[in-house]
């Protein structure tokens, strides 16, 4: 294990020891953050923002699970009113999807890392970047409004015709989604332009770290899919406000058209969620195995392939909504093809570990958990993509379990792994590795306990979005609730470990893990301008020259 235990002691004679210039100490005061154009600070603000959203969504999730402890067959004895239950799961989904998971990796880690990994000073449009952040804030305010105005009960999908009838603050929520969409578009646009036009000499496309390939592919989806969500939300708002009828069958409009529009965005959006996570895993696997990535080009191409194929499969969410038979068959077939690039990646990650020197530290444990959970999530997606099985599984807990395995077991776990991996770089502090591994283990067990039973529930016919259930399902539901509580504990442990490091952590060296990408060549935390002079760009996965220096507790690159 390569974890540094001894803090790097600065020579006492050096008066500037504590005051070296980095992006955190570069300037101070509230406005220096609120108006900053520094991508690192914007990334940190996003991090705080999305994590707060995650906490909110998490509390709502626990409310759902606690409510389902009993079958609630008599509504008056249930903990939550049926109506309230509908609002809780709606907000849980909407907050998690739109406020947390979509911006999470690209906007927080991506913002922080992309320019540094690329070897530039900032993203192409720093002001636009700050603008994206404030759009996120504005969207979040709309969401909080719908939380406190209560009554949003449409599910995160806002399906018509119900959303037209619902008394809840649908307009506020859709406008919130609209605004958040623009935040996402501008982030994607910024990243594409940065990667295309600002790579320093030597940084060819195939010398880019795979995280950047993943973020680049994600950005393509953000830019191409999100506008469609934007117009859909606008039309839905107009529907409620002006009764335009486009989605209202009473006016000869077509509610199914809404589903098509919605999923044209929202299926690609699931790749907005997972692709950056896959990028993180590619980095973690290689760095912590101290071995070059296996199949660099295949991983890079498969990211782009996923981004493009992802646009062709939205119909698999609508197999039971009414479509021509041929259409369903085509959508089903395309759904199977899109799982191939994902499988390629899993194969390559395992190939990377093979004969590597694996350091089982916190980020790596998270990465291993990811592989396990994502694989289950992806494989169960195939059950749902097959027409005959989906007829039974659609709108059951099986779907819930499927997408939690990919979204939570995949994206969230990768996000945490990445957070632990880059935490020393972002904050300049080392965390307690044992605590980190402990959190990963609790989360892993808790997660499976929560969602494995839901697969079983789904196959037995437990429908999603119901506040009550048949008594025979109680055991499985209770297991799931226990798992959820455990998951909560694991996440709290992770939070405590990170917070603890801020106050008591030893100073992080430049390169604590032995990474070969550029961010490990700036100090931890990086200076305001990232690099004083343009860095020399080499192979991001060449570990042959990386060596450990016990004196500084850091890896370094041999000349």
């Amino acid at each position: 294990m390569s974890v540094v235990t001894n803090p790097v002691t600065m020579p006492a004679t050096h008066p500037e020891a504590g005051k070296e210039d980095n992006y955190l100490t570069h300037s101070s005061g509230f406005l220096s953050w609120a108006l900053t154009l520094d991508h690192k600070r914007i990334g940190m603000m996003y991090l705080v923002g999305v994590m707060s959203a995650f906490a909110l969504g998490g509390v709502l999730a626990l409310m759902i699970r606690l409510h389902l402890w009993t079958p609630n067959l008599e509504a008056n004895q249930a903990w939550l009113l049926n109506k309230t239950y509908n609002q809780v799961f709606t907000l849980h989904g909407a907050v998690m999807v739109f406020l947390f998971i979509i911006p999470s990796i690209p906007a927080a880690l991506g913002n922080f890392l992309l320019p540094i990994m690329l070897g530039t000073k900032d993203v192409a449009f720093p002001r636009l970047n700050l603008g994206s952040f404030y759009l996120w804030i504005a969207g979040a305010i709309f969401f909080l409004f719908s939380l406190f105005a209560t009554g949003l009960d449409t599910g995160w999908t806002f399906y018509t015709p119900y959303s037209i009838e619902s008394q809840g603050p649908v307009i506020a929520a859709t406008l919130g989604v609209f605004i958040l969409g623009f935040s996402s578009i501008f982030t994607g646009l910024n990243f594409i332009v940065t990667i295309n036009t600002m790579r320093p000499p030597g940084m060819t496309w195939f010398r880019m770290p795979l995280f950047l390939w993943a973020v680049y592919s994600t950005s393509i989806i953000q830019v191409l899919a999100t506008p469609v969500l934007g117009i859909t939300m606008l039309l839905l708002a107009a529907e409620k406000l002006l009764g335009i009828g486009i989605f209202d069958s009473r006016l000869n409009g077509d509610p199914i058209a809404f589903q098509h529009f919605f999923w044209f965005y929202s299926h690609p959006a699931v790749y907005i969620m997972i692709l950056p996570a896959m990028g993180i895993i590619s980095e973690l696997m290689s760095v912590h195995s101290h071995k070059g990535i296996f199949g660099y080009r295949m991983i890079a191409y498969s990211s782009v392939a996923i981004a493009l194929f992802g646009f062709l499969v939205w119909g698999h969410h609508m197999f039971t909504s009414g479509m021509a038979d041929v259409t369903t068959i085509v959508f089903s077939a395309l759904t199977f093809t899109v799982s191939i690039p994902s499988a390629i990646k899993v194969f390559n990650w395992i190939g990377t570990m093979y004969q590597g020197t694996v350091s089982l530290n916190t980020p790596m444990v998270y990465a291993l958990a990811f592989i396990f959970l994502f694989t289950i999530g992806g494989l169960t997606g195939l059950f749902l993509g097959a027409l005959s099985t989906d007829m039974h599984l659609h709108a059951t807990y099986f779907v819930i379990a499927h997408f939690h395995y990919v979204m939570m077991g995949g994206t969230l776990i990768a996000f945490l792994g990445g957070l632990f991996h880059w935490w020393p770089k972002m904050t300049g502090k080392m965390f307690n590795d044992f605590g980190g591994i402990l959190s990963a283990s609790i989360i892993f067990v808790g997660f499976n306990l929560t969602f494995l039973p839901q697969f079983v529930l789904g196959t037995r016919g437990m429908p999603r979005r119901y506040a009550s259930y048949k008594p025979e399902f109680q055991l499985l539901h209770q297991l799931s609730t226990i798992g959820a509580l455990m998951l909560g504990v694991g996440l709290l442990v992770a939070l405590l470990v990170l917070l603890h490091s801020l106050f008591y952590g030893s100073k992080a060296p430049k390169n604590p893990w032995g990474g070969a990408t550029l961010e490990w060549e700036c100090s931890s935390p990086p200076p305001h301008d990232n690099f004083s002079s343009a860095p020399t760009v080499g192979d991001p996965y060449d570990f042959s020259k990386i060596e450990f220096d016990p004196k500084t507790g850091s890896y370094f690159k041999k000349k």
């Binding site: 000073k121 578009i185 646009l189 332009v193 191409l224 506008p227 859909t232 107009a238």
Partner: protein, 358 residues
């Protein structure tokens, strides 16, 4: 307004900061990189704009495919003369915009401001004409979806002064700009004069557009030169009242609507009050109303894009008045130009799709 007195940024470049002149953002290496980044960013943004509109084009295709007769019927309510004028105005504004880009490269600031002002003026004329179109339709009760009022022969024309409402914001802006101009004049600030001039002209252009629209609209209502029969029902014999005018259309195309309407809409829920006559199959909320929903959504979102374009052109005028543009730094003008051409381009699709259906 001469360029000679202004400090030229290219001169500064040499003495102060050789590598990073003020117009070059600190994180770019050179002017070319900055320009390329801006341009690529704008192109990507345009792609998102196209996709944004694509949702509405899909809705259009879907409903036109389902009820072609509705689109034919409703299109007769749109005054293609006004649409054509607006098309011409926008095309011309694309020319002035392109000219502005050239002027910015050549550092001809006077021409640049003139051309930007002309573009702004065209945009205002466009909106003025649009205001006439919208208010005229609202007066007839041609609202979207569930607010659509079935067109009945002889129904009174609404007396709500919609056109006035639409003119109020423009009027406020005009007054503000005139005051600004007076202020600029009194304080003898050349910079403010350079900015205020085009703004006053542009705001006045809005009313020019309104006048133009009214004249053409009235001409349409009075003229009986329509030779074509069938769906083209603008012609009429006696009435000088637009409400009566359009009410006649309802019965005019009924003969050819009858057959199609029966085929397409027999399985659609229609409220009993609206099923009396065959032509009312089309003339109801779920039919014509849906068309107007699509019409207002598309042209409305387009109009908002015009407004956004006007805002950024105004920003360009301010920057030009400060002599910020020159051969190495004209990216903003170029990129706004691209945006403006796209907005123009979308209109070129909207016009035939909405106005020119047989």
């Amino acid at each position: 307004m001469t360029t000679a007195v202004a400090p030229s940024p290219t001169d500064h470049e040499h003495d102060a900061h050789h590598e990073h002149p003020a117009w070059l953002a600190h994180h770019f290496d050179d002017a070319e990189q900055q320009f390329d980044a801006g341009k690529l960013g704008m192109w990507i943004f345009l792609v998102t704009e196209v996709l944004f509109f694509s949702g509405m084009f899909c809705a259009y295709a879907l409903y036109r495919n389902r009820n072609p007769e509705v689109f034919e019927f409703c299109s007769t309510f749109l005054n293609e003369k006004l649409g054509a004028i607006n098309t011409g105005v926008l095309l011309f504004s694309s020319l002035t915009m392109a000219w502005a880009v050239r002027a910015s490269q050549l550092k001809q600031t006077k021409t640049l401001i003139g051309m930007l002002g002309a573009t702004l003026g065209c945009a205002a004329i466009f909106l003025g004409v649009k205001a006439v179109e919208y208010s005229h339709k609202w007066g007839l009760g041609l609202f979207p979806g569930k607010y659509y009022v079935s067109q009945v022969e002889g129904a009174p024309h609404s007396t709500v002064p919609y056109l006035w409402y639409l003119c109020i914001p423009a009027l406020i802006l005009l007054v503000a700009f005139v005051l600004y101009y007076v202020y600029a004049f009194v304080s003898a600030s050349k910079f403010h004069l350079r900015v205020a001039g085009p703004l006053v002209v542009a705001a006045s252009c809005f009313f020019g557009g309104v006048k133009l629209g009214q004249v053409l609209e009235a001409e349409e209502s009075h003229g009986d030169s329509h030779a074509s029969a069938g769906a083209d029902a603008h012609g009429h014999e006696h009435s000088d009242h637009a409400g009566h005018d359009h009410a006649k259309e309802v019965s005019a195309p009924s003969v050819n609507l009858l057959g199609e309407a029966e085929v397409v809409t027999h399985d659609v829920a229609v409220s009993p009050a609206e099923t009396n006559t065959p032509e009312s199959n089309v003339n109801q909320k779920g039919m014509a109303g849906l068309f107007f929903s699509i019409y207002y959504c598309m042209t409305g979102v387009h109009a908002f894009h015009i407004l956004g374009g006007m805002a950024v052109i105004t920003w360009l005028i301010v920057k030009s008045a400060r002599f910020e543009f020159h051969s190495k730094y004209y990216g903003p003008v170029d990129n706004v130009g691209l945006y403006w051409h796209l907005v123009d381009f979308i209109w070129i699709y909207l016009f035939p799709l909405l106005y020119l259906i047989t």
